[in-house]
Symmetry: C2
Subunit: 134 residues, 2 copies
Protein backbone atom coordinates (compact mmCIF):
# COMPACT_ATOMS: atom_id res chain seq x y z
CA UNK A 1 0.00 0.00 0.00
CA UNK A 2 2.30 2.73 -1.10
CA UNK A 3 1.97 3.79 -4.72
CA UNK A 4 3.02 7.25 -3.68
CA UNK A 5 5.14 7.85 -6.66
CA UNK A 6 4.71 11.57 -6.66
CA UNK A 7 8.35 12.50 -6.27
CA UNK A 8 9.99 14.35 -9.12
CA UNK A 9 10.99 11.75 -11.64
CA UNK A 10 13.82 13.86 -12.97
CA UNK A 11 15.86 13.11 -9.94
CA UNK A 12 14.80 9.50 -10.01
CA UNK A 13 16.12 9.02 -13.47
CA UNK A 14 19.62 10.07 -12.68
CA UNK A 15 19.91 7.85 -9.64
CA UNK A 16 18.49 4.68 -10.96
CA UNK A 17 18.54 4.17 -14.60
CA UNK A 18 20.59 6.11 -17.07
CA UNK A 19 18.79 7.12 -20.16
CA UNK A 20 19.92 4.33 -22.40
CA UNK A 21 18.77 1.42 -20.30
CA UNK A 22 15.03 1.33 -20.72
CA UNK A 23 12.62 1.20 -23.61
CA UNK A 24 11.09 4.67 -23.85
CA UNK A 25 8.20 3.78 -26.14
CA UNK A 26 7.25 0.79 -24.07
CA UNK A 27 7.38 2.84 -20.93
CA UNK A 28 5.27 5.50 -22.58
CA UNK A 29 2.71 3.04 -23.88
CA UNK A 30 2.38 1.11 -20.67
CA UNK A 31 2.17 4.30 -18.63
CA UNK A 32 -0.79 5.31 -20.73
CA UNK A 33 -2.40 1.94 -20.20
CA UNK A 34 -2.21 2.00 -16.42
CA UNK A 35 -5.40 2.05 -14.39
CA UNK A 36 -6.11 5.00 -12.15
CA UNK A 37 -4.40 5.13 -8.83
CA UNK A 38 -7.81 4.93 -7.22
CA UNK A 39 -8.76 1.71 -9.00
CA UNK A 40 -5.38 0.19 -8.32
CA UNK A 41 -5.70 0.81 -4.64
CA UNK A 42 -9.25 -0.47 -4.57
CA UNK A 43 -8.27 -3.72 -6.26
CA UNK A 44 -5.29 -4.11 -3.98
CA UNK A 45 -7.55 -3.63 -0.97
CA UNK A 46 -9.94 -6.22 -2.32
CA UNK A 47 -7.20 -8.80 -2.72
CA UNK A 48 -5.64 -7.89 0.58
CA UNK A 49 -8.93 -8.67 2.26
CA UNK A 50 -8.94 -12.04 0.51
CA UNK A 51 -5.33 -12.64 1.46
CA UNK A 52 -5.53 -14.18 4.87
CA UNK A 53 -5.96 -17.77 5.93
CA UNK A 54 -8.68 -17.10 8.44
CA UNK A 55 -10.69 -14.94 6.10
CA UNK A 56 -10.25 -17.40 3.25
CA UNK A 57 -11.60 -20.13 5.52
CA UNK A 58 -14.61 -18.00 6.30
CA UNK A 59 -15.19 -17.38 2.63
CA UNK A 60 -14.72 -21.01 1.76
CA UNK A 61 -17.44 -21.82 4.26
CA UNK A 62 -19.71 -19.09 2.93
CA UNK A 63 -19.18 -20.44 -0.56
CA UNK A 64 -21.21 -23.37 0.65
CA UNK A 65 -23.91 -21.71 2.66
CA UNK A 66 -25.09 -18.60 4.42
CA UNK A 67 -23.93 -18.85 8.03
CA UNK A 68 -24.27 -17.06 11.33
CA UNK A 69 -21.26 -16.01 13.35
CA UNK A 70 -21.74 -18.80 15.77
CA UNK A 71 -21.73 -21.43 13.02
CA UNK A 72 -18.56 -19.95 11.65
CA UNK A 73 -17.00 -20.02 15.08
CA UNK A 74 -17.73 -23.73 15.25
CA UNK A 75 -16.66 -24.56 11.74
CA UNK A 76 -13.40 -22.67 11.89
CA UNK A 77 -12.67 -23.46 15.51
CA UNK A 78 -11.73 -19.86 16.08
CA UNK A 79 -12.63 -17.46 18.85
CA UNK A 80 -15.90 -15.62 18.36
CA UNK A 81 -14.01 -12.39 18.67
CA UNK A 82 -11.50 -13.30 16.00
CA UNK A 83 -14.30 -14.33 13.66
CA UNK A 84 -16.14 -11.08 14.24
CA UNK A 85 -13.03 -9.01 13.63
CA UNK A 86 -12.38 -10.79 10.37
CA UNK A 87 -15.99 -10.48 9.29
CA UNK A 88 -15.65 -6.78 9.85
CA UNK A 89 -12.74 -6.67 7.44
CA UNK A 90 -14.71 -8.66 4.89
CA UNK A 91 -17.74 -6.45 5.33
CA UNK A 92 -15.61 -3.35 4.95
CA UNK A 93 -14.23 -4.69 1.70
CA UNK A 94 -17.76 -5.45 0.49
CA UNK A 95 -16.87 -9.09 0.17
CA UNK A 96 -19.63 -10.36 2.41
CA UNK A 97 -23.00 -8.99 3.37
CA UNK A 98 -24.95 -9.57 6.54
CA UNK A 99 -28.55 -10.05 7.46
CA UNK A 100 -29.89 -9.83 10.95
CA UNK A 101 -32.47 -12.27 12.25
CA UNK A 102 -33.27 -12.08 15.91
CA UNK A 103 -30.10 -12.43 17.91
CA UNK A 104 -28.22 -13.91 15.02
CA UNK A 105 -26.44 -12.25 12.14
CA UNK A 106 -26.18 -14.26 8.95
CA UNK A 107 -23.33 -13.69 6.55
CA UNK A 108 -23.06 -14.55 2.89
CA UNK A 109 -20.89 -13.66 -0.08
CA UNK A 110 -21.69 -10.24 -1.40
CA UNK A 111 -21.73 -10.87 -5.14
CA UNK A 112 -20.89 -13.42 -7.83
CA UNK A 113 -17.52 -11.87 -8.63
CA UNK A 114 -16.31 -12.86 -5.23
CA UNK A 115 -17.19 -16.49 -5.69
CA UNK A 116 -15.52 -16.41 -9.08
CA UNK A 117 -12.35 -14.91 -7.65
CA UNK A 118 -12.15 -17.48 -4.92
CA UNK A 119 -12.82 -20.37 -7.24
CA UNK A 120 -10.28 -19.16 -9.76
CA UNK A 121 -7.81 -18.87 -6.90
CA UNK A 122 -8.39 -22.46 -5.90
CA UNK A 123 -8.09 -23.63 -9.47
CA UNK A 124 -4.82 -21.81 -9.81
CA UNK A 125 -3.17 -23.28 -6.76
CA UNK A 126 -4.48 -26.77 -7.48
CA UNK A 127 -3.23 -26.79 -11.02
CA UNK A 128 0.05 -25.35 -9.92
CA UNK A 129 0.62 -28.16 -7.50
CA UNK A 130 -0.83 -30.80 -9.75
CA UNK A 131 0.86 -30.47 -13.09
CA UNK A 132 3.09 -27.50 -13.49
CA UNK A 133 1.09 -26.12 -16.36
CA UNK A 134 -2.58 -26.45 -17.22
Amino acid sequence: MNVDAQKPMTENRSEICLEQCFHPETVERVSGFMASREDLLAVAELFKALGDGSRMSILNALLCSELCVCDLTMILKMTQSAVSHQLRVLRGAKIVKSRKEGKNVYYSLDDPHIAMLIETGFEHVREERGGGDV
Copy 2:
Protein backbone atom coordinates in the same frame (compact mmCIF):
# COMPACT_ATOMS: atom_id res chain seq x y z
CA MET B 1 -2.60 -16.50 8.34
CA ASN B 2 -3.62 -18.49 11.34
CA VAL B 3 -6.11 -21.28 10.64
CA ASP B 4 -4.56 -23.19 13.49
CA ALA B 5 -7.79 -24.47 14.78
CA GLN B 6 -6.42 -27.62 16.24
CA LYS B 7 -7.46 -26.98 19.82
CA PRO B 8 -9.97 -29.41 21.30
CA MET B 9 -13.37 -28.26 20.18
CA THR B 10 -15.04 -29.75 23.21
CA GLU B 11 -13.68 -27.01 25.36
CA ASN B 12 -14.41 -24.47 22.70
CA ARG B 13 -18.03 -25.34 22.67
CA SER B 14 -18.57 -24.66 26.30
CA GLU B 15 -16.83 -21.29 26.22
CA ILE B 16 -18.31 -19.82 23.15
CA CYS B 17 -21.54 -21.17 22.01
CA LEU B 18 -23.92 -23.27 24.01
CA GLU B 19 -25.38 -26.18 22.18
CA GLN B 20 -28.65 -24.63 21.24
CA CYS B 21 -27.32 -21.65 19.34
CA PHE B 22 -26.00 -23.05 16.11
CA HIS B 23 -27.31 -25.23 13.35
CA PRO B 24 -25.63 -28.59 13.81
CA GLU B 25 -26.46 -30.04 10.40
CA THR B 26 -25.33 -26.93 8.62
CA VAL B 27 -22.11 -26.90 10.58
CA GLU B 28 -21.61 -30.55 9.79
CA ARG B 29 -22.34 -30.14 6.10
CA VAL B 30 -20.16 -27.07 5.66
CA SER B 31 -17.33 -28.63 7.63
CA GLY B 32 -17.35 -31.49 5.19
CA PHE B 33 -17.31 -29.09 2.27
CA MET B 34 -14.27 -27.12 3.41
CA ALA B 35 -11.12 -27.21 1.33
CA SER B 36 -7.97 -28.67 2.81
CA ARG B 37 -5.97 -26.49 5.11
CA GLU B 38 -3.14 -26.67 2.60
CA ASP B 39 -5.26 -25.34 -0.25
CA LEU B 40 -6.76 -22.64 1.93
CA LEU B 41 -3.36 -21.36 2.90
CA ALA B 42 -2.11 -21.50 -0.66
CA VAL B 43 -5.04 -19.46 -1.94
CA ALA B 44 -4.66 -17.00 0.88
CA GLU B 45 -0.99 -16.61 0.01
CA LEU B 46 -1.87 -16.04 -3.59
CA PHE B 47 -4.32 -13.28 -2.77
CA LYS B 48 -2.01 -11.80 -0.20
CA ALA B 49 0.62 -11.42 -2.88
CA LEU B 50 -1.95 -9.65 -5.05
CA GLY B 51 -3.04 -7.47 -2.17
CA ASP B 52 -0.64 -4.58 -2.25
CA GLY B 53 -0.79 -1.35 -4.19
CA SER B 54 2.75 -1.52 -5.47
CA ARG B 55 2.45 -5.08 -6.60
CA MET B 56 -0.92 -4.46 -8.19
CA SER B 57 0.65 -1.59 -10.12
CA ILE B 58 3.39 -3.88 -11.31
CA LEU B 59 0.83 -6.44 -12.40
CA ASN B 60 -1.31 -3.86 -14.08
CA ALA B 61 1.72 -2.85 -16.10
CA LEU B 62 2.58 -6.45 -16.91
CA LEU B 63 -0.99 -6.99 -18.04
CA CYS B 64 -0.03 -4.73 -20.90
CA SER B 65 3.42 -5.94 -21.77
CA GLU B 66 6.45 -7.89 -20.72
CA LEU B 67 8.81 -5.47 -18.98
CA CYS B 68 12.27 -5.31 -17.53
CA VAL B 69 12.91 -4.13 -14.01
CA CYS B 70 14.19 -0.83 -15.22
CA ASP B 71 11.04 -0.14 -17.23
CA LEU B 72 8.95 -0.96 -14.20
CA THR B 73 11.05 1.37 -12.11
CA MET B 74 10.28 4.16 -14.53
CA ILE B 75 6.61 3.39 -14.96
CA LEU B 76 5.86 3.06 -11.28
CA LYS B 77 8.26 5.78 -10.18
CA MET B 78 9.51 3.53 -7.44
CA THR B 79 13.00 2.74 -6.27
CA GLN B 80 14.70 -0.07 -8.14
CA SER B 81 15.19 -1.82 -4.83
CA ALA B 82 11.53 -1.61 -3.92
CA VAL B 83 10.55 -2.94 -7.34
CA SER B 84 12.96 -5.84 -7.05
CA HIS B 85 11.72 -6.72 -3.59
CA GLN B 86 8.14 -6.78 -4.78
CA LEU B 87 9.02 -8.78 -7.85
CA ARG B 88 10.55 -11.31 -5.55
CA VAL B 89 7.28 -11.65 -3.70
CA LEU B 90 5.42 -12.04 -6.97
CA ARG B 91 7.91 -14.57 -8.23
CA GLY B 92 7.66 -16.50 -4.98
CA ALA B 93 3.90 -16.63 -5.36
CA LYS B 94 4.26 -17.85 -8.95
CA ILE B 95 2.38 -14.83 -10.16
CA VAL B 96 5.05 -13.61 -12.52
CA LYS B 97 7.84 -15.34 -14.35
CA SER B 98 11.16 -13.93 -15.47
CA ARG B 99 13.39 -14.29 -18.44
CA LYS B 100 16.97 -13.14 -18.56
CA GLU B 101 18.41 -11.41 -21.60
CA GLY B 102 21.86 -9.97 -21.25
CA LYS B 103 21.95 -7.61 -18.34
CA ASN B 104 18.19 -7.27 -18.25
CA VAL B 105 15.56 -9.45 -16.67
CA TYR B 106 12.12 -9.39 -18.27
CA TYR B 107 9.05 -10.09 -16.25
CA SER B 108 5.61 -11.20 -17.37
CA LEU B 109 2.46 -12.69 -15.87
CA ASP B 110 2.89 -16.35 -15.11
CA ASP B 111 -0.37 -17.74 -16.41
CA PRO B 112 -3.84 -16.84 -17.67
CA HIS B 113 -5.52 -17.34 -14.31
CA ILE B 114 -3.59 -14.41 -12.98
CA ALA B 115 -4.80 -12.06 -15.67
CA MET B 116 -8.31 -13.30 -15.09
CA LEU B 117 -8.08 -12.69 -11.36
CA ILE B 118 -6.81 -9.18 -11.84
CA GLU B 119 -9.38 -8.32 -14.43
CA THR B 120 -12.21 -9.71 -12.35
CA GLY B 121 -10.89 -7.65 -9.46
CA PHE B 122 -11.01 -4.49 -11.53
CA GLU B 123 -14.49 -5.30 -12.77
CA HIS B 124 -15.64 -5.80 -9.23
CA VAL B 125 -14.38 -2.53 -7.87
CA ARG B 126 -15.56 -0.58 -10.88
CA GLU B 127 -19.06 -1.95 -10.73
CA GLU B 128 -19.15 -1.43 -7.02
CA ARG B 129 -18.35 2.22 -7.39
CA GLY B 130 -20.42 2.70 -10.48
CA GLY B 131 -23.83 1.25 -9.75
CA GLY B 132 -24.19 -0.51 -6.44
CA ASP B 133 -25.19 -3.74 -8.08
CA VAL B 134 -24.40 -5.16 -11.50
